[in-house]
Structures are given as structure tokens and as C-alpha cells.
């Protein structure tokens, strides 16, 4: 059934983690084999709900290797729980996800200065510390819910604040000044 590859089907295909194996081939590329029937070359692992449910419903996209072809892939299926993959596969998928999703998560606001409606802040994030410039910040804030905020800075980088209430007091005071 899987051997037919992606056809225009109306059903989502959920993959059993036990059927999926992700490995690095001798040529250094990443492959994903599904039920030992299909092997995808350089598959992409894409989160369906990167913000609200990042760990579930990882789509595997790829192309069955053809002669000299490595085109953009179609979706082969969805993994409900990618962490249940066997360890080697999980490690590779983790690496692929980390490579693809670069949005930093804000952990603390170190400082904030304001110049006529433009703010320069130092953000401490899970990816390190960075000075950011915020411009028209209220137009660049998305409230996912009352406690979850995304802020986009003047350089088009987005910072995720997954839990407003988890920030320290000073950071929240700074935030209240800008949003």
C-alpha cells in the first residue's frame, strides 16, 4: 500500500514510530525508510503546529530517489510522537528539527532603553544573549493566548515568550513598558 508512494489521497497517513527508521547513509546524507518499503532521500521533518504543539504531528516529506533526482518532496506521513522513534533515528530527527526551527525563546530581558518609540533591549534567550531593536512593537506582537507572546524585532527576527508569568519581575516590568 505504501509502495505506491504519495498519491492524491484524502486521508492523512499517520506513521507508527516503529515503522520509521532515520539513518545517515554512507554518502553522508540522511535517509528515512518507512516500513522498509520506501526510502526517502534527505527527508524534511516539518512541525505541523510549531508553536502550539511542537512535539506532535511531525510531517515527513521527501522524494523516493530516482535517477539523479532530488526534487522537493511530498508528505509521506505524520508522526504523532516522534520521540518514540528508536534512539538513533530520534537523534537525527532532533538534529533536523533543531536545524530547521531557529526561533529563540526569550528567558529574560536584561535591559531596555527607549528612544522616541524605538526600544533597544538586550534579550537573554535559549540561544544566547542578543541586543534587539524593537520598532512599532505593538504592531509586531502576537498574543497566542493571554500568557504566550511572540515579538518580532526590527530585523524580522521573532522571539517566543512561551510563558509570560514565568518571567522574572524585572523582565515583566520591561515588557509592560513596551506592550
Amino acid at each position: 500500500m505504501l509502495t505506491r508512494g504519495p498519491v492524491a489521497s484524502l486521508e492523512l497517513r499517520y506513521l507508527d514510530p516503529e515503522d520509521v527508521r532515520v539513518f545517515r547513509g554512507e554518502d553522508g546524507r540522511v535517509y528515512a525508510s518507512i516500513k522498509d518499503e520506501v526510502t526517502l532521500i534527505s527527508p524534511a521533518f516539518v512541525r505541523s503546529h510549531p508553536l502550539t504543539d511542537p512535539d506532535r504531528y511531525i510531517a515527513i516529506k521527501g522524494t523516493i530517489p530516482k535517477e539523479g533526482m532530488e526534487a522537493r518532496g511530498d508528505e509521506f506521513g505524520l508522526l504523532r510522537h516522534w520521540r518514540r522513534l528508536e534512539p538513533e533515528s530520534r537523534r537525527l530527527v532532533e538534529g533536523q528539527l533543531a536545524r530547521r526551527y531557529l526561533h529563540p525563546r526569550l528567558t529574560r530581558i536584561v535591559s531596555l532603553r527607549e528612544y522616541s518609540g524605538v526600544q533597544v533591549a538586550v534579550f537573554e534567550t535559549d540561544r544566547g544573549v542578543r541586543e534587539v531593536t524593537l520598532r512599532d512593537v505593538r504592531d509586531n506582537v502576537i498574543y497566542l493566548d493571554s500568557n504566550r507572546v511572540l515579538i518580532t524585532d526590527a530585523e524580522n527576527n521573532r522571539y517566543d515568550i512561551p510563558d509570560l508569568s514565568a518571567l522574572d519581575r524585572q523582565s515583566r516590568v520591561y515588557l509592560a513598558r513596551i506592550i
Partner: protein, 733 residues
């Protein structure tokens, strides 16, 4: 100009590739594992080297250029990666955040040139940081609020007052005279107390003094009215001039500018920012001047009357100044939070009422009401807080302000008892101290106010200073007539530098021929049109019209020869005749009707109650899609262009209407070079040439028959199309 390479990196490169020329260098902002940090990509001689910066720089990758066939940008979420293709395998070289996407788009071009053995192009980087302080600037703006020279902005703003300098001088004179006259009443009161009330005599003097009081107040009121009216006129006039200039500039700005600036933001520059400038000119600036004059005047009079008491009376002034300033900051914060919530509330209501039909259809009223309730409550909370803060703050502020007069009572009283001053002096002092409260109050917040207004002014100036299409027009080749020969030569283009939309596109269209552009959505069809119309300029390669590069053509002139019928027929509010004549405002009624006839529009137009004078409604909402389309065709016919663009002109209309439109189009394209985009491939059957685009590249080209025989992409699309039209036919039955 690329950034300076750190010495440590240079040293390690020298060690690794001695004597190699560093031909390309670029800093990325993500290090290993996606952590913020500097990484450098260098092309040293014929090696691509990636170096992690740090105390001891580490070489991460070192590839000989000869192994690499090409470079590509892999767009990720929140950033992107530059990859090299080696033997069909993709190797990540370096990754970066969105901040540097533009830079690495250009680096890719440089590296690709190196791979092909071409000369490496200079890398011009978009300046997005203030050259003085390094702060990130807004897109398309060079204004740095940290380095903004307020004086310069103010001077530029005042330059707008120059044509009206007579009135400006009059306003200043009135200000000074008004203030001087305003200083008289307390002095008169002093004589009233000392020479009339206390001695209980001099009824004649009483009359004179009261007459004096009446006179000064009438005089100062008169001057105040005159000055206020003049200032209002002047402020209105200057912001009118500014708005007119701004709007003109907006009309001429390039589409790239509009891509980057949401219309809402531009509207706010036109309305709010220029309104802010008006407030500044009509109200704030005259107030600043008058406040300063008043305070200086009062101080002079006080010191002349009694310098000791003057010092005592003025001691609390700086403290009051600071206190009111800090109270105001608090207050303003509360109100800003409230206004912000108003904005969000407004958006919600606007959205919700616009989709009320959908809401009803899906029975989502309760959830809409719930959503509204949350915002409404949020708004109430912020509103109550702002109002309560105000309710507390203002009386408190006046209490503090009033304390200044207590000091005068106390020390003035002591001096009066000791007969060093008169009772009239105390009364006059009290009046003077009261007189400067408001100016002080005003000045304590004017700094913030001024700075906002000046930033608003600067935002307006910024648009005025943006390079527009019209500047490109100057000194270009003018085109009286076009034959309509079009050629694309190795065109590369991306709306964003790092995302190429067209890749090495080349084709040629003979004058009067029809070219059909085929491909899935997103393949680059509309982009070809955008480049043809020179709404954008190519990144690499040229677009030639009649053998002349479009970049050298006078744009304004050139576009006169272009006619466009778009997928979404855009009509503006007005009559049908006005809409047809949009591209040729001086068209006669007969020309308009002739064009409408050819476009199969005349008959239905005349059937309208108001005929050609029928209002089409906002965006043509009162006409059907097919009617709108035919009016747009008539518009193009009237303009009589040499080159015609048809973008999906027959989408979303019924069969009979489609036939009428097809007829109209067939008449329209006769003798003109035509670029047609259509999903319905049947419409392109008659094209002299078809170009099939996939992912921005031309994959096939030829006539309908040739491509059908090729059994390639086009044949596949054709087959799919036939199937879906069969399904459509079945449904139609």
C-alpha cells in the same frame, strides 16, 4: 561594504591558505548548534572556508571551489542556511537569522559567480544600522531616533513656515506683547490694595485702576484670540502643504516600497503623523515660546519688587517641575495602555462585524460574543485604571502646585509684618506665582511631547526623502512609438534577495505575437509581468523592449504603451465612463463607447439605468465579475497599448460571459504583443509561443502543438486540465 574581518580570522586564513586573496567575506550571526555567535564565511583563493569566531577561531569547513557545482539558500523557520552542492549532495556551510537574509542572498550570488569563473560582483549591502551608533534602523529608513538631530528636524519643519513669515513674525510680536500686558494686572492689584483698600480712600484712583484692569484684560484677550487664530491658520496651512507633498510622494514610490510598508502604516503617516506635526506647530511651539517668555517676565518683575521674597517664592519651582514630570509619566503610561487596548478592541470589532455572515453561517455567535467579552473586559480594566489614576493624580498635582503659594503667604506675611513690604506686594506676589504654574506645568511635559512630534515629523520627511520612481525617469530614453518586441535575457530576480523567484529566464517575443505563460501558481508567471512592466528591476540579466533595455526607457512614457487586464478587475468608486477612461482621462464619450463596444461591454452598460453614468460602487461592487472584467478590457482597449498583459482574465465567470470576454480579448490582442497568463490552457491555444515555468525556470517552450507532442510538463498540465473540466462539465449537468 562588507564588515571588517577580525585579525584572528585573517591570521588563521593566512595559516591555512598562505597568500590567498580573500575574495568574499561575510559574517553570520549563528554559531554551532544555532547559538547566537559570529561565524565567518570566506572565499580564500579558490577555497570556501567557514570559521567559527571566538578566542581561538576554529575552521569548521574548508571546501575547494572546484568540488562545488552551485550554492543555494535553504530557507528555514526564523532564518536560513547557505548550502553548497557537492556531487549532488547538499552541505550546510553556515546559517543565519532573518536579520542577515539579505546579506547572504548577495553572498550566494558572489559565490555562484566564483564557481562559474565569472568576475565576482561587488556586494552592496542594505544599510540597516545607524552608521553612528549601530542601532538597527527600520526598513527603508535612515532615521535613527537615538541620533536624530532634533534641532535639524525642527529647522526643516520651520522652513515650511517660510512662505508665511509675515504671519509668523506677527504671531511672535503678539506673543511678546500679550505676555507683557498680561504681567500688568497683579501690579495694578498691588496699588489697589496699598493705595485704595488699606487707606480706604482715593475713589478716583480706584476707578482708574479698575479701568486699567479692564483695559489690560480686554487687550490681552484680544491679542490672545488674534494670535490663536493666526497660529491655527498657520498650523493648518503647513500641515496641508506637508500632506500634499507626502501624498504626491506616496503616489510615485516604487512597488518594492509598498511591499515593505503595510498600507495601514502609510495611512497613519498621512493622517496621524502629519496631524502630530500640525499640533506641534499650531499649539505646542507657540505654547513653549509663550511659557518661556511668561516665566522670564514674571521672574524679572518679582526680582524688581523684592529679590529676597522672589528667591523664596521661586525655590520650590524646580522641585515642582520634577514632581509633576514624574506624575505625568505615570499617568501617560496608564493612558497608553488604555489606547493600545482600544486599538486592539477596534480591530476585533471591525473583524467580527466584517465576517458577520460567516459567523452566522457557522453559528459562532456565542464564541464571537465570548471573544468580545474578553477584550471588552480588558478594555474596561485598563480604562478604569487610567481614569482612576487621573482622578487621583490631578487633584494631588494641584495640591502640590498650590503649596508654592503657601510659602509666599508665610514669608511674605513675615516681611509685611516687619513692614519690609506692603500687603499689596504680597497679593501681587501671590498672583505672579499663580501665573507661572501653568507654564511650568506645561514645560515639564513638553520635552516628551516635542520629541514625539519631532519623530512624527521625521517619519513624514523620511517618506519625502525616499527615492521614488519619478527620479528614475529623468534622463532616460523616450519612446514615441513601440513595435512591441520583447526579450528577456538571462533574467534573475527575487523580491527578497535570498529567495530567487526567476532563475535565468530567457525568451523573445516578436512584435504583435502572443506569449502564453504557463505554470503552477508560484512558478513566477506574474513576476515575469512585473519585470516587463518594470514594477521591479531585475537582479541580473536584462529585459529589452524594441532592443532597448527597459531600465534605460523613460518609465512614464514606456508604461503608456502597456495595457493590463488583471485577474482581479480593479474598479474604483465612480462612474463606468470614468473607469473606462482611467488610463486616458481626456477620452471623448465616443471613444469610450467605441472601446466598450469592442470589449462587449456597451450593450450591458446602456441597459443600466444610468448607462455610462452608472456608479460602480466601491471597488465596482455593484457590477458582476464578468461586467467588471469587460470594463477593464475596455479600459485597456481605450489606452491602445503596444504591449498587453492579460492575467487570468477569464477566471471565475460563467460560460456565456466567458465567451463574450474571449471575443473581446481576441479583438483586443490583435496586432499587439500580448503576454497572457491563464490556468485554463484552452485560452492559450492560439498563442504564438508558450513558455512553461516551473520553480522560476523555463522548462519548456514552443507552440501548443509542439508542447503537446513533447509529452512533458505542459502535456501533463493539459491532461489534468481536461480531466478537471470534465468534472466541471459533469457538475454542470
Amino acid at each position: 561594504m562588507p564588515e571588517q574581518i577580525p585579525e584572528s580570522i585573517k591570521a588563521i586564513m593566512e595559516q591555512r591558505h598562505p597568500g590567498a586573496d580573500l575574495r568574499v567575506s561575510a559574517r553570520a550571526d549563528l554559531g554551532d548548534g544555532g547559538i547566537f555567535g559570529d561565524k565567518w564565511l570566506l572565499l580564500a583563493g579558490d577555497h570556501v572556508v567557514v570559521c567559527q569566531d571566538g578566542e581561538v577561531p576554529q575552521v569548521a569547513t574548508d571546501l575547494p571551489l572546484s568540488d562545488i557545482s552551485s550554492f543555494e539558500i535553504d530557507t528555514l523557520v526564523g532564518g536560513a542556511a547557505l548550502r553548497a552542492v557537492v556531487n549532488g549532495k547538499r552541505i550546510d556551510l553556515i546559517s543565519f537569522t532573518n536579520a542577515l537574509a539579505d546579506r547572504f542572498g548577495r553572498v550566494r550570488e558572489q559565490l555562484d559567480a566564483a564557481v562559474k569563473g565569472k568576475p565576482i560582483p561587488e556586494r552592496e549591502e542594505r544599510i540597516n544600522r545607524c552608521p553612528t551608533c549601530g542601532m538597527v534602523l527600520g526598513e527603508y529608513t535612515r532615521v535613527c531616533p537615538r541620533c536624530l538631530r532634533r534641532g535639524a528636524v525642527l529647522r526643516r519643519l520651520l522652513a515650511y513656515a517660510r512662505p508665511y513669515r509675515g504671519r509668523v513674525i506677527l504671531i511672535m510680536v503678539l506673543l511678546v506683547c500679550g505676555t507683557a500686558v498680561g504681567l500688568a494686572p497683579p501690579l495694578l492689584t498691588k496699588y489697589l490694595v496699598d493705595d485704595v483698600l488699606i487707606p480706604r480712600r482715593n475713589i478716583q484712583l480706584l476707578f482708574i485702576l479698575v479701568a486699567g484692569l479692564a483695559g489690560t484684560s480686554i487687550l490681552s484677550t484680544g491679542m490672545e484670540i488674534w494670535r490663536g487664530r493666526l497660529a491655527a491658520w498657520l498650523g493648518g496651512r503647513i500641515s496641508f502643504d506637508l500632506r500634499a507633498e507626502l501624498y504626491e510622494r506616496l503616489q510615485w514610490l516604487s512597488l518594492r516600497y509598498y511591499d515593505k510598508h503595510p498600507t495601514g502604516a502609510l495611512i497613519s503617516r498621512l493622517t496621524q503623523d502629519s496631524g502630530g506635526v500640525q499640533d506641534l506647530l499650531a499649539f505646542a511651539l507657540p505654547m513653549v515660546v509663550s511659557s518661556v517668555i511668561q516665566i522670564i517676565g514674571v521672574a524679572i518683575v518679582l526680582f524688581a519688587m523684592n529679590w529676597k521674597l522672589a528667591i523664596l517664592a521661586l525655590i520650590p519651582v524646580p522641585f515642582l517641575f520634577l514632581l509633576t514630570h514624574s506624575l505625568w509619566l505615570k499617568l501617560r503610561k496608564a493612558w497608553h495602555a488604555y489606547w493600545y487596548r482600544w486599538g486592539r478592541f477596534h480591530t476585533l470589532v471591525n473583524d467580527a462585524l466584517n465576517r458577520v455572515k460567516v459567523t452566522k453561517a457557522f453559528s459562532q455567535q456565542p464564541s464571537e460574543i465570548g471573544r468580545y467579552a474578553i477584550r471588552n473586559d480588558d478594555l474596561r480594566f485598563a480604562g478604569v485604571r487610567a481614569e482612576q489614576t487621573s482622578a487621583t493624580m490631578f487633584p494631588f498635582m494641584w495640591l502640590v502646585v498650590g503649596s508654592g503659594s503657601l510659602l509666599v503667604w508665610l514669608f511674605g506675611g513675615v516681611l509685611a509684618i516687619r513692614a519690609q513690604i506692603t500687603a499689596g506686594d504680597v497679593v501681587a506676589f501671590l498672583a505672579y506665582v499663580g501665573m507661572i504654574q501653568f507654564p511650568l506645568h506645561f514645560l515639564s511635559q513638553v520635552a516628551q511631547w516635542l520629541s514625539r512630534a519631532l519623530t512624527a515629523a521625521e517619519r513624514v520627511f523620511e517618506v519625502l526623502d525616499t527615492e521614488s520612481d519619478s527620479e528614475k525617469i529623468k534622463g532616460s530614453i523616450s519612446t514615441e512609438r513601440l513595435r512591441g518586441e520583447v526579450e528577456f535575457q538571462h533574467v534573475n530576480f527575487g523580491y527578497e534577495r535570498h529567495q530567487q523567484v526567476l532563475k535565468d529566464v530567457s525568451f523573445r517575443v516578436e512584435p504583435g505575437h502572443m506569449l502564453g505563460l504557463v505554470g503552477k501558481s508560484g512558478a513566477g508567471k506574474t513576476t515575469v509581468i512585473n519585470l516587463l512592466g518594470r514594477f521591479y528591476d531585475t537582479d541580473e540579466g536584462d529585459v529589452l523592449v524594441d532592443g532597448v533595455n527597459v531600465k534605460d526607457l523613460a518609465l512614464w512614457d514606456y508604461r503608456k504603451h502597456l495595457g493590463v487586464v488583471l485577474q482581479e478587475p480593479f474598479l474604483f468608486g465612480g462612474t463606468i465612463a470614468e473607469n473606462i477612461a482611467y488610463g486616458k482621462p481626456d477620452a471623448t464619450p465616443e471613444e469610450i463607447m467605441a472601446a466598450a463596444k469592442v470589449a462587449n461591454a456597451h450593450d450591458f452598460v446602456v441597459n443600466k439605468p444610468d448607462g455610462y453614468d452608472e456608479q460602480v460602487g466601491e471597488r465596482g461592487g455593484r457590477l458582476s465579475a464578468g461586467e467588471r472584467q469587460r470594463i477593464c478590457i475596455a479600459r485597456a482597449i481605450l489606452r491602445n497599448p503596444a504591449i498587453l498583459v492579460l492575467d487570468e482574465a477569464t477566471a471565475s465567470v460563467d460560460l456565456e460571459t466567458e465567451q463574450q470576454i474571449q471575443e473581446a480579448i481576441a479583438r483586443l490582442i490583435e496586432g499587439r504583443t500580448t503576454f497572457a497568463i491563464a490556468h485554463r490552457l484552452s485560452t492559450l491555444r492560439n498563442a504564438h509561443q508558450l513558455v512553461v515555468l516551473e520553480d522560476g525556470k523555463i522548462v519548456e517552450s514552443g507552440t501548443h502543438e509542439e508542447l503537446e507532442a513533447q509529452k512533458g510538463v505542459y502535456a501533463g498540465l493539459l491532461e489534468m486540465h481536461q480531466k478537471t473540466s470534465m468534472v466541471g462539465a459533469l457538475h454542470a449537468d
